[in-house]
Amino acid sequence: MIDPVTLAVALIVASTPILFAAIGELVVEKSGVLNLGVEGMMVIGAVTGFIVAVETGSTLLAMVAGMLGSMVLAAIFGFLVLILLANQVATGLALTLFGLGLAALLGVGYPGQPVPVPLDLFPPPISEWPVVGPVVFGHPPMIYLSIALVVLVWFVLGHTRAGLVVRAVGESHDAAHALGYKVVRVRFLAILFGGACAGLGGAFLSVMRVQNWIEGMTAGAGWIALALVVFASWKPWRVLFGAYLFGGISVLQLRLQVAEVGVPVTLLSASPYLMTILVLVLISSSRVRTHQGAPADLGKVFHAGR
């Protein structure tokens, strides 16, 4: 009824937008900033990426455009919360509301336009091997980039001086400031990185996965990415695992809807969100009061000039 190989392929493709967004947000949160605007940045990345793909016919330029588009939004967020010391929760919400509106505005006239089909990284003989071919080798380069990004974030955060500075700023901005680290600069760069990742995720979603622009097409993926960071206890490898888990659920529920098994469609289409909530509950209840590895200064306003 459901072919495991095509399911696995679909799972990887479905997970990648969330994976990009979540790994970016992980770095932002590690630096002590909570950016609730992931959904808005993703949707802007999706629309700018799609527009450039339609206009230029290049998927590479589309990915760059998606990245730059959401970095602009991220920069607005960074300016508001770091320079003007605005409330991070409210500003993140504003970013999402504004991003959804602006994306819909930019995308007028684009739904249904043709975009180039992304090429796979490996040539046909390799990608046609049974099972491993389609699952491991049969993807466009972006899929491999997303996994490479997880490795990179894991390595840089945990094993380099730059990563140590980011974590120090997130754990205690006052101490990091006293040691001479530029708290605002580090956080701003982290926010831009988060924006770039969310934009890549969005552009991947519109240009490569769906190959269309639909208003509000992210449908909560940005929020699931935020939940994933909590689920992963701010650890990069667990983000990868979590993203694939949720990708798996959303792909499986679609197949089950088509297969018309006895489960109500409502329950199936709500299942990715319900599952996210369930996992959040399990994660928060199992290690209550230990903050589950959250950076100590997450979401706090830093003001040096006192």
Binding site: L97, G101, I277, S285, H303
Partner: protein
Amino acid sequence: MITLEKREAPSRFWGVATPFVAVLLTMIAGAVMFAALGKDPIAAIRIIFWDPIFSEQFASYSRPQLLVKAAPLILIAVGLSLGFRAGIWNIGAEGQYIIGALCGAAFGLAFYPSESVLIFPGMVLAGLFGGWLWAMIPGVLKTRFGTNEILVSLLLVYVAEAVLASAATNWLRNPDAMGFPGSRNLARHPGTDNPELIAGTGMHWGVVAAMIAVIAAYVVLNRHVVGYQIRLSGQAPRAARFAGVNASRMVLLCLGVSGALAGAAGLFEVSGPGGQISIDFNVGYGFTAIIVAFLGRLNPIGILFAGLLMALTYIGGELAQLMLGIPAPAIQAFQGMLLFFLLALDVLSTYRIRLTARRVAA
């Protein structure tokens, strides 16, 4: 060099002035956006902010719409503002709005075709209950397990939309509609309708409820110990704990009240201006209400005016769409911009901007 110096107490002047400056800046930025779309910016701003109320051609239609659109925004925003003041972030009002509408409509339709005068009050209670129940999910999960209420309340919006889809196409579908989705029309059936109370004003029971909510919230915040506890929890959580404020109770109270009000707003909408449960009857009031709450500075009276202004942008936006062909999403971007400017300008009320000579460290 420009530096920020923290004020000892927030500036009262800027507290009042920021919403006005923010609206002005949004108008300017909006004009730039409309110009970029190739539309006459001055005309666009005039059509959005002036014509719905003062133009002879449109005012007779637009003026009543002002109350119709402002009522749900104010009702939801008043509830949200209580939580926002206490640092409890319910951002899933859209979901509570949907579930409230569904519960209320289901109650009314259960007694169909009765025309008893008791039906509508029952529907209102069911709407309040539905919204309250949906908001209790993030509330109980937060108090029991420490789960983040922001994420849970937001994710439940998508669950609510799935429930709505099944209601409109399945269990609340009009049996006489020959398979078309959507419930029976509640507004055209005596007993389940939420009629215009004074002809030509747009006044309906939802407007009355919004007024009551504003007054009640004002009294609670300024004259009641609960209001004091809400403000204390937000400004000084530690002090609140030492003062014996029960944090869990605060969470359940703030989420419950905001959920119930959002649910009622949904019910008033489907039984009045909306008319029926349809697959997409919700138009994002639950999200726009977040902007309304901030624009009103989380103050009930401020929210009253902010709701009217935001309703104006909805109506003006529709008019601009009609007159100038400005795409509908432009107005959503416009509203988002307003929130940005508000949050950016807030710095002026909590900090003083000083120009200082750059000092070289010795």
